[in-house]
């Protein structure tokens, strides 16, 4: 199938024939931060490869992996990734970096103070018991999965009146939360990247129960050439220089890093 890919390139004529392409499918939350674009440049130059970044919901991203329309995945839903590999669609997952989920809510919300020092699951309990508006992604994404596990841990039902499932990407969900003066669970990266447009603030800071791990999942049965590139991409993100780049990513813009690496 690598020859077929070559054919397509020469047909489209919009790239040089020698340039190889790899389709990396990721989730919207990672794409929205602009992180991939900035870090992939080095890889593209080093290996003379073009990386096509396609951002989709986690579910669709995994489906694309199953249908082999994706050559490699960069996602954050540990359980689903492991299932994906167990079912034989993936070869391996490499944890590249992590950040945290936070709970955000309306700026200067009356209840914000009361939630500040609670544990994550107690924050959820508080929200449910006070029927505060809450926006859930509702799309079975990594964030949504995390949210559901927190509801379970808190022991309260999430079907209170002001609980809204919207089935949207992270940034769009935050938009809605801002507009509706509602609470939401978000990864810190997306929040920092879009907070200028939002009337939201963090009400529950990161803690270890809210860790959000991003990993690269390699796909099985790739053709030889693609496998080489795909492995190279994993190595690239694991390499010291890129890990350093990750650690510093966002510091200049947001005053704090968007991601942490495992040291």
């Amino acid at each position: 199938s690598s020859t077929a890919k070559g054919d397509e390139q020469s047909k489209s004529g919009d790239s040089k024939e020698t340039v190889k392409e790899i389709t990396l499918v990721t989730t919207t939350s990672l794409e929205d931060t602009g992180f991939l674009e900035d870090t992939l440049k080095g890889f593209e130059d080093e290996n003379d490869v073009e990386v096509n970044v396609v951002a989709k919901g986690t579910g669709e991203a995994l489906e694309l992996g199953k249908s082999k329309d994706a050559d490699i995945l960069f996602v954050h839903a540990k359980q689903k990734e492991e299932d994906f590999i167990a079912e034989g669609y993936g070869v391996d997952r490499s944890e590249i970096m992590y950040n945290y989920f936070v709970v955000v809510g309306p700026k200067d919300g009356a209840d914000n103070k009361s939630m500040k020092d609670l544990s994550a699951s107690d924050v959820f309990k508080y929200i449910s018991e006070n029927n505060l508006p809450f926006i859930s992604r509702g799309d079975e994404s990594g964030t949504h999965t995390k949210e559901l596990s927190l509801w379970e841990k808190s022991g309260v039902d999430n079907s209170f009146e002001n609980y809204n499932e919207v089935g949207k990407g992270m940034a769009a969900t935050l938009q809605m939360a801002s507009e509706m003066k509602a609470y939401a669970l978000t990864d810190i990266g997306t929040f920092l990247a879009t907070k200028d447009n939002l009337d939201l603030e963090i009400v529950k800071q990161a803690d270890d129960s809210l860790k959000n791990v991003y990993s690269i999942v390699t796909i099985s049965e790739l053709d030889k050439e693609m496998k080489i590139i795909s492995d190279k991409l994993v190595e690239y993100y694991k390499s010291e220089s890129v890990q350093k780049q990750i650690k510093e990513y966002g510091v200049s813009e947001y005053g704090e890093p968007l991601f942490f690496v495992f040291e």
């Binding site: 989709k56 919901g57 986690t58 579910g59 669709e60 991203a61 995994l62 489906e63 694309l64 509702g138 799309d139 079975e140 809204n164 499932e165 919207v166 089935g167 949207k168 990407g169 809605m176 507009e179 509706m180 009337d199």
Partner: protein
């Protein structure tokens, strides 16, 4: 998703698009007839602009409605964002130029003859519009089908201003978009089948209103 929820979504979609189509075709047709009948400066230019607005991406109409209805916008106090009103409003804005373009094109072709007949019958200025409405009735069917089709199949604007809130503003297209993004292609195709069935039935119904001409 349960069948009862699917039915709710279908009914909500129909309610929103039928309302928007009705408002858009009625105002659109009336406006077009007025524009056709009146001579005024910039008439050609205005028609051109209406034609161009046909290509406005729905998400832009959505964005405009969003900015108007958002808390910081002029109508923010009414808190209409993420409601079916907002969705209807966005669709109306989207559909009016379509209804108008199609009607104007028709009048351009057949209007002169109707106008001369009106003059022979010595019909009042204001009744002339009525006659045009009457004469245009059969053509209206295709206008309605086209605008309804565009409305019911639109996703960008209703997603933005409706918010796709489950049980509240989720409509067929936003549901399809969501389940597609979740990789549930089977579910998407099922809803799509329902949507096509509905549009088949509504086309059939609308067409059956069209008398032999």
């Amino acid at each position: 998703m349960e069948i009862i929820e699917v039915i709710q979504i279908v009914i909500r979609s129909l309610y929103i698009t039928i309302t928007a189509t009705a408002i858009a075709t009625i105002t659109g047709t009336l406006l077009s007839i007025l524009i056709y009948l009146k001579e005024f400066k910039l008439k050609r230019q205005i028609i051109m602009i209406i034609n161009s607005l046909m290509s406005t991406p729905p998400v832009i109409m959505g964005l405009i409605v969003f900015l108007i209805l958002s808390r910081k916008g002029p109508l923010g106090e009414f808190q209409l964002l993420f409601s079916s009103y907002a969705m209807i409003l966005a669709q109306v804005l989207l559909l009016i130029p379509i209804a108008m373009s199609l009607t104007l094109e028709y009048l351009n072709k057949c209007g002169d003859e109707i106008l001369i007949t009106c003059k022979v019958l010595q019909i009042n200025k204001k009744d002339i519009a009525k006659i045009f409405l009457k004469e245009i009735k059969n053509y209206l069917i295709i206008v309605i089908i086209t605008t309804f089709g565009r409305g019911i199949s639109e996703v960008g604007a209703v997603m933005l201003v409706g918010g796709n809130i489950r049980g509240k503003t989720m409509v067929m297209t936003t549901y399809i978009a969501q389940s597609t993004s979740m990789g549930n292609f089977d579910e998407s195709l099922m809803i799509a089948a329902i949507l096509i069935l509905i549009s088949f039935m509504s086309t059939f119904f609308i067409k059956s209103l069209q008398k032999d001409s």
